[in-house]
């Protein structure tokens, strides 16, 4: 298995807190790599290292096998590493097409090519399975899932090879989460490597190809989809033995 992006024995320390320790992950193209972890597991730090916001204190960051040192998220972006944060970096009161091209406007001499931009947005959203009649509407009028779709489509259009999604389903209802999972599957089919960061093993299991379990800043385990059942993921994620003990304790109370 060849991976596009790889972290080798990465550690990140803030003052006296070890946020990440000896973390190794490899992320291939055209697959969904899930990183599962509870609150405080180190998911946010891992995202920030992957997206170029933080530099690792130890370990290597490899792209296509070559070590890289990103100084800013912009540099990571130029290497095809795009991150969609929970706030999606969208402006709810701005129209869909304005949001889509913000910071990357198509223009000649400063005048935006508005018709062309609108056409591109329509096509790109169509590829995600959303038929937009009016790209002039404000992003705020879209549902949570559709906003995710805009952010994902934008990242792919501007050349993402690896798409990092920070808890894309956590704020959504069951139906909307299902819609987002479908976008993730579509993104994978288009050859983009997806890093799906979540605390929800159910969502991860539906679309993931491989699963990393992150706990207290360390990778506990790694599974391929073929070799793991959902129950095992849930058990490991929720602290396994701890949860069984809790179950016993609760049984005693009842």
């Amino acid at each position: 298995m060849s991976s596009y992006l790889e972290l080798r024995n990465v550690s990140k320390i803030f003052g006296t807190v070890i946020a990440l320790k000896d973390v190794s992950v490899s992320i291939p193209l055209a697959e969904v790599t899930c990183i599962l972890g509870d609150n405080g597991a180190g998911k946010s730090t891992l995202i920030k290292v992957l997206s170029g916001v933080h530099k690792a204190d130890e370990g290597e960051y490899l792209i296509n096998g070559a070590a890289v040192h990103f100084e800013s998220p912009r540099e990571a972006l130029d290497s095809g590493i795009a991150t969609v944060y929970q706030d999606l970096a969208v402006q709810p009161l701005m129209s869909i097409w304005r949001n889509f091209f913000l910071g990357n406007e198509r223009h000649s001499g400063g005048m935006m090519k508005i018709a062309e931009q609108k056409q591109i947005v329509r096509e790109q959203m169509d590829l995600m399975g959303i038929k937009l009649r009016d790209v002039d509407q404000a992003v705020g009028t879209l549902s949570g899932g559709e906003r995710q779709a805009v952010a994902i489509a934008r990242a792919i259009y501007f050349g993402a090879k690896i798409l990092i999604l920070d808890e894309p389903t956590s704020a959504l209802g069951v139906k909307q989460a299902g819609v987002v999972l479908r976008y993730i599957a579509q993104t994978k089919q288009r050859g983009v490597g997806v890093v799906f960061i979540t605390h929800n093993p159910h969502h991860a299991y539906l679309v993931g190809d491989s699963f990393y379990l992150l706990n207290r800043g360390q990778i506990l385990d790694r599974h391929e989809k073929a070799n793991v059942a959902i129950d095992e993921l849930i058990r490991e994620m929720s602290g396994g033995a701890e949860l069984e003990m809790l179950a016993h304790e609760l049984k005693d109370i009842h």
Partner: protein, 340 residues
């Protein structure tokens, strides 16, 4: 199955589109005020003399409101507009009246001075992260005090007159103090600025950056928008608009005083807010702000035409402001806030 039955097709009717326009409140208000004064005051208000009269008042506020609207859409305030009017006017007047410098050169120097004020406001806001409300409030008082202090120090007075005797005055009057077919030349500046600013905001890349900066500063910065440059240039914009207004007033009245422009910052902000600009940034329109300024001019002069005691002007203004914002808010909520 028709396409409109597909649950993933997002659509919006024409009516909702109109209701979502930022200019709506100001447009309705303008019509309402016009009709009201047309009934009360009659032909003096409706006729061309009336139009000449209230557009002259509207143009002064309008020039400022255009620049202030752009700045507000980018998420910032400028409360130093009035003080900048007083200061730049006094710089021009001192140089030409006191020291006999050619008026055009004085105007150039005071314009540079305005640019410096804008750069300072912008730089301090961007680099310290302080709210621009505080930064420009400081500038408002600091600059006002400086203007009074320096003027009295040099001339021992607080007002200067006699600009008509300075070299360059006759040619400058054509651009800043004349009337064309009875209309104030400022109206032409105003219309010109509305057109330019509107094109910049809606069609140019820079306009997209303005919306992005005001809507989500960090998000826009992460997407590569030069948010600091955007904000600093817009502060320079409001300062230059203040310079233009001070120049037209200085040349029209062939003199100025240290309190000229006091309170103009609020009039410009009110016009922009009536015109649909959000106080929190990220939303608004130049045309709306222009309509807000027109509304302003109509009420201010309409009250005089209708022979109502002008004491009531500020009362009408307050009522207008709050009702226009209420209208804008409720429509925007209906259109944008209705997330499915």
């Amino acid at each position: 199955m028709t396409i409109s039955n597909d649950e993933r097709v997002v659509q919006r009717s024409f009516v909702r589109k109109v209701l979502g326009r930022p200019e709506l409140g100001a447009a309705l208000g303008t019509i309402l005020v016009w009709v009201t004064f047309a009934i009360i005051a009659g032909s003096v208000f409706i006729g061309v003399d009336g139009i000449r009269n209230y557009t002259a008042v509207a143009a002064d506020i309008g020039v400022l409101a255009v620049a202030v609207a752009l700045l507000m859409i980018a998420g910032e305030f400028d409360l130093s507009v009035g003080s900048t009017i007083a200061a730049t006017g006094m710089v021009t007047a001192l140089l030409s009246i006191q020291y006999g410098i050619n008026l055009w050169l004085s105007l150039f120097i005071s314009a540079l001075f305005a640019v410096c004020i804008g750069l300072f406001n912008g730089w301090l806001t961007v680099s310290t992260g302080l709210p621009s409300f505080i930064v420009t409030l400081g500038m408002m008082f600091g600059l006002a005090g400086l203007t009074i202090g320096v003027t009295r120090l040099i001339t021992n007075r607080t007002q200067l007159g006699g600009l008509q005797d300075t070299p360059g005055y006759t040619s400058a009057v054509k651009f800043f103090g004349s009337k064309i077919d009875g209309f104030s030349v400022t109206v032409i500046w105003w219309v010109l600025l509305v057109v330019i600013a509107s094109v910049v905001l809606t069609r140019r890349r820079f306009g997209n950056w303005i919306f992005g900066t005001g809507g989500n500063l960090d998000g826009a910065r992460n997407l590569g928008v030069p948010t600091s440059r955007v904000r600093i240039s817009l502060f320079v914009g409001t300062a230059l608009a203040s310079w233009l207004v001070s120049t037209t007033q200085l040349i029209t009245f062939s003199g100025t005083d240290v309190l000229r422009g006091t309170g103009k910052e609020f009039e410009a902000i009110i016009a922009a807010v009536i015109g649909g600009c959000l106080l929190t940034g990220g939303f608004g329109s130049v045309v709306g702000a222009a309509l807000g300024a027109l509304l302003f001019g109509m009420v201010k002069q309409g009250i005089i035409f209708a022979q109502i005691d002008s004491d009531w002007y500020k009362f009408f203004l307050g009522v207008m402001l709050v009702s226009a914002v209420l209208i804008n808010n409720s429509f925007r909520k209906r259109v944008v806030g209705s997330s499915k």
